[in-house]
Subunit: 154 residues, 2 copies
DNA sequence: ACCATCAATGCAATCGAGTTGCATCTTTTA
DNA sequence: TAAAAGATGCAACTCGATTGCATTGATGGT
């Protein structure tokens, strides 16, 4: 998608995950470290939400070595600055994706019951109306569709 | 929430739950044990989904002593037999309620962001249509509304 | 370009939810 | 009422995640 402008006045065409990650990091008023760069790049590159282990593996594959704890802290830091998005799945494992995939505000997730993959979906076409009992004040809805992903369904 | 007091310091609601629990258990082709009775009664009595710890506390309050592991196994057993319903919350702690509160099939949950309580809601009035990408095969939707419960909102 | 500062990292220890193996005890049924 | 199937308690363990603390390294000021 050449020429389309993205967040900081740079076009997608000239911004691969690497430079984009660096850019996002320096814009976030934090230090640009190898661990943060690697993690953010990996998240930007992935179409699916990644678990801690999956990110760890991806880091290793890049020949880097980042401590388990550092990874937790990097992810925490990215989430705090809205550069990443954290999803709680039923297996009680956090999963993360780059914030740009987590379409701002309301959006749903798809969870493949076979391979376990989780992807962000565009928001619901229309807000479903829920029968909220008297006095309950809704703030946000969290929606997960469980089913089979294209690869597992095929 | 405590009801009108009955014979031996037990409230009407509790007495109800007691006989109901015993009934459900014997109908479920399993042994009727003190632990199972207590847990099912507690779930039947509660308007909100209870965590393992909350159930443990409730058991203690009844003067019973049930092992941590036994409680896990009782809950697992109840869920297998559809006598209880298990909910995964964002704090990565399972919560349980009696199955009769978990209206069969599709239904949503309300999570109070202040006190942490989780309650079952009636299902969405109509299935919202989601923009599922090509090839994704939905099976069931899981919906949680986050907000404030009547007590915390007031 | 250098250096001092303070945030970021690595390491070890710890937490907490949940699970497993096994010996013992209890409900059931015959 | 006794045997058998099943439930329980205990101890040890798994695993994701967190904390404390000493060390390292990115960055802004000179």
């Amino acid at each position: 998608m050449p020429g389309i402008e993205c967040c900081n006045g740079v076009t997608m065409a000239e911004a691969d995950a690497q430079s984009r990650a660096r850019q996002l990091l320096s814009a976030a008023a934090g230090r640009v470290t190898p661990a943060r760069l690697a993690v953010l790049e990996i998240l930007l590159d992935s179409a699916t939400a990644l678990s801690h282990h999956e990110i760890e593996d991806a880091i290793e594959r890049r020949g880097l070595d980042v401590d388990r704890v550092t990874l937790y802290r990097v992810l925490e830091w990215l989430v705090e600055r809205d550069l990443a998005h954290r999803i709680a799945a039923e297996d009680r494992v956090w999963r993360f994706n780059a914030a740009d995939r987590a379409h701002a505000g309301e959006h749903a997730h798809f969870h493949c019951t076979q391979c376990g993959q989780i992807v962000c979906l565009d928001g619901p076409d229309s807000a479903a109306t829920f029968a909220l009992p008297e006095g309950y004040q809704p703030e946000r809805a969290e929606i997960t569709i469980h089913g089979r992903c294209p690869r597992c369904a095929g």
